[in-house]
């Protein structure tokens, strides 16, 4: 048996799913967090059943990719658990009635039940159950309340098979149901709600946005730097380095095994960044340089997501984003891209048109550096001085804007307007925020760490086999003329296809000038997505558009690199 969770966006389907199956999925306080489906298992009575978490949808007549996914899922479900926001019954019941017109058994979970009381809403559940003809279970997914009752109600799910209604008839039916089961007592706005409204006023909103973004940035730096300085560097230097040194002398300080495990000596000693052994750079780069910033970034992003601030940011930035062919909601994939480009490209599914998805995905791949790359930019480019870091970020921002303006002008079609539900602000709960952080951090460790280790082995083998030298000789003249970079930087750029953090570490021992390092970093950041992003681009955009996007990336990267080289 397959149980399908369906409902409007941002009603807490993913939280219900996590509660039912124990499988952790991303949940945030904005519509469109889930753009794909996730499967899990749970027990109903003695039977183990499959549970599917579908993207949110307002209607069974889809208007964007995420809603299409939801509709396709409907055909797979044997039972539908329709998750409904109890504080907005009227809007939610439209989909409920659409489901009840279909040939599928339905149970309704009346979620966010705890919010109804203080919002002055009373719902007669018995009566609602009677009117709909299917079980209605009040739930509070974030605390787990009502989950047991929901599971017990699944076998009682019923097919009602209402006669098919027109849209107007359905809204009329929704109206008469809500009128008879719901009483809303009028209440005045609290000062907190007034403050909340200020975040979508043009002037106060802009000031608040500037403060929020600056504070987030400062917090990410503080958390990331503190973790490096007070936790990971001391751990690595006092605990791990002695082990490496002993191992190195046990191996006799040379040989194939030594260069794979420990790497080469830099100025007569093991260097955690530049030695390039699996146990030296292979652990130091991902765990002591990148991981702290992954933790810091996702902690702050998680809080912003759960508070519900991001849709407000989308409203504020909408006018500006239209100039580059996107609407404000494209800020969500863009922000996700600062963590990792893979979920960012997936998140473009919340955009309505193919044109917008192409522009958004291309801009993310070109100009949004992921957390791994950023950690290395801060760590290595930062060594030359803060202004070089600013130069890298400034160049990426300029590329984002200029490329967006060009794509918007050249591509056929128009950009649809913004139309989004703005969720209520919520206090972020410590448990869910930490659970989400752990999900993302463990995802990084699971997916990035093996690739980094493989990349380091590959690098060592290619060097040993002399292949890099041959490639370097071939491209070196063009590289030097166009970008002013030495031929030795070519292997680093090539490895950028596997992992950009490793690629930047490969540049470290080359004795580049500050200007050369900036050029190499910018080219590396822009010219090709890493293999994981490339795979997801292929899946989301198809072969032709991915080829187009790749061409754009190459041209943009080389132009930006050449311009920087000429200026520096």
């Amino acid at each position: 048996m397959r149980v399908l969770l369906m409902g409007n966006p941002n009603v807490g389907k993913s939280v219900v799913f996590s509660r039912l199956t124990g499988v952790r999925v991303m949940s945030s306080n904005y519509p469109g967090t889930t753009v794909n489906y996730t499967e899990g298992r749970m027990k109903v009575g003695d039977e183990v059943v499959q549970v599917i978490d579908a993207p949110g949808t307002y209607t069974l007549d889809p208007t964007c990719e995420a809603e299409e996914v939801a509709l396709k899922m409907l055909e797979m479900g044997d039972v539908v658990v329709n998750v409904v926001d109890a504080t907005n019954l009227e809007r939610n019941l439209f989909l409920t009635l659409q489901l009840l017109e279909r040939d599928v058994p339905v149970v309704v979970a009346l979620n966010m039940w705890d919010d109804t009381a203080h919002r002055g809403i009373t719902i007669d559940i018995e009566k609602l159950q009677e009117q709909l003809g299917v079980p209605v279970i009040p739930t509070v997914a974030v605390s787990g309340q009502g989950m047991k009752g929901l599971v017990e109600a699944i076998p009682r799910a019923r097919v009602v098979r209402h006669a098919t209604r027109t849209r107007e008839e359905r809204w009329a039916a929704v109206g008469s149901i809500t009128d008879s089961v719901q009483i809303i007592s009028h209440r005045h706005h609290t000062w907190l709600e007034r403050l909340a409204d200020a975040t979508v006023q043009p002037l106060q909103g802009a000031v608040i946005a500037a403060v929020v973004l600056a504070a987030s940035f400062a917090a990410i730096r503080l958390v990331g730097e503190s973790l490096v300085r007070y936790v990971l560097d001391p751990l690595f230097n006092t605990l791990w380095m002695p082990v490496l040194e002993r191992l190195s002398s046990a191996l006799g300080g040379q040989g194939v095994l030594h260069s794979v495990l420990i790497g080469r000596f830099v100025e007569g000693a093991i260097n955690p960044v530049e030695s390039f052994g699996i146990l030296s750079s292979g652990l130091y780069v991902p765990l002591a340089m990148v991981l702290p910033y992954i933790i810091a970034f996702y902690l702050i992003l998680g809080v912003l997501e759960d508070v519900g601030y991001l849709p407000r940011l989308a409203v504020l930035l909408d006018s500006a984003m239209h100039r580059i062919g996107l609407h404000g909601y494209a800020i969500i994939p863009t922000l996700l891209g600062f963590g990792c480009n893979v979920p960012a490209v997936l998140a473009t599914r919340i955009l309505e048109s193919r044109r917008e998805r192409f522009i958004a995905a291309t801009l993310v791949s070109v100009a949004i550096p992921c957390a791994s790359l950023q950690a290395m930019i801060v760590g290595l480019v930062g060594g030359f001085g803060a202004r070089y870091v600013l130069l890298v970020y400034g160049t990426l921002l300029a590329a984002w804007v200029v490329l967006g303006l060009i794509l918007h002008r050249l591509m056929k079609g128009f950009s649809p307007e913004l139309l989004i539900e703005i969720p209520r602000y919520r206090w972020p709960l410590v448990g869910p925020v930490l659970a989400k952080l752990w999900g993302r951090v463990s995802g990084y460790l699971r997916e990035a760490l093996p690739v980094i280790l493989v990349a380091i082995v590959v690098i060592n083998l290619l060097y040993a086999a002399g292949i890099f030298d041959a490639v370097t000789g071939l491209f070196a003249p063009a590289m030097t003329r166009l970008l002013g970079l030495p031929g030795e930087s070519i292997p680093a750029l090539a490895i950028g296809f596997l992992r950009k953090d490793v690629a930047l570490a490969l540049l470290a021992p080359l004795a580049l000038t500050a200007g050369q390092f900036v050029v190499a970093t910018v080219v590396l950041a822009m010219f090709f997505p890493c293999v994981a992003t490339f795979a997801v681009l292929l899946r989301e955009l198809g072969l032709r558009d991915t080829a187009k996007a790749t061409g754009i990336m190459l041209v943009t990267a080389l132009s930006a690199g050449a311009i920087l080289n000429a200026l520096l």
Binding site: R91, V200, P202, V315, D318, P416, E417, L418, I422
Partner: protein
């Protein structure tokens, strides 16, 4: 295509009917009509923007940015072109 533009001029915020775009922040009213294709009407209706609903305009962004309204005690942001197609009776408060 230009029908709704003419309407917008005729129904000024001083009169009884105003477009959602022309309404002032803090103004209330009841939606009387949503002018647009089937798809637009459907998407707006799903968010509670349909005839007969009471709305409160919360804000509108500068430079033709989106309009934020409150309907059914929940907020929705609507692009200004769409907001210009939504007619509101502002005499009912």
């Amino acid at each position: 295509m230009f029908g709704w533009l003419r309407h917008q001029r005729r129904f000024s915020p001083e009169g009884d009917i105003a477009t959602l775009r022309a309404m002032k922040a803090g103004q209330r009213g009841v939606i009387v009509e949503v002018r647009g294709g089937h798809n637009l009407v459907e998407r707006l209706a799903a968010l509670g923007i349909r005839p007969g609903k009471r709305v409160l305009k919360v804000s509108s962004m500068l430079l033709g940015g989106p309009v934020t309204v409150e309907v059914d005690r929940a907020q929705v942001a609507i692009g200004s072109q769409m907001a210009a197609r939504i007619l509101v009776d502002v005499s009912v408060t």
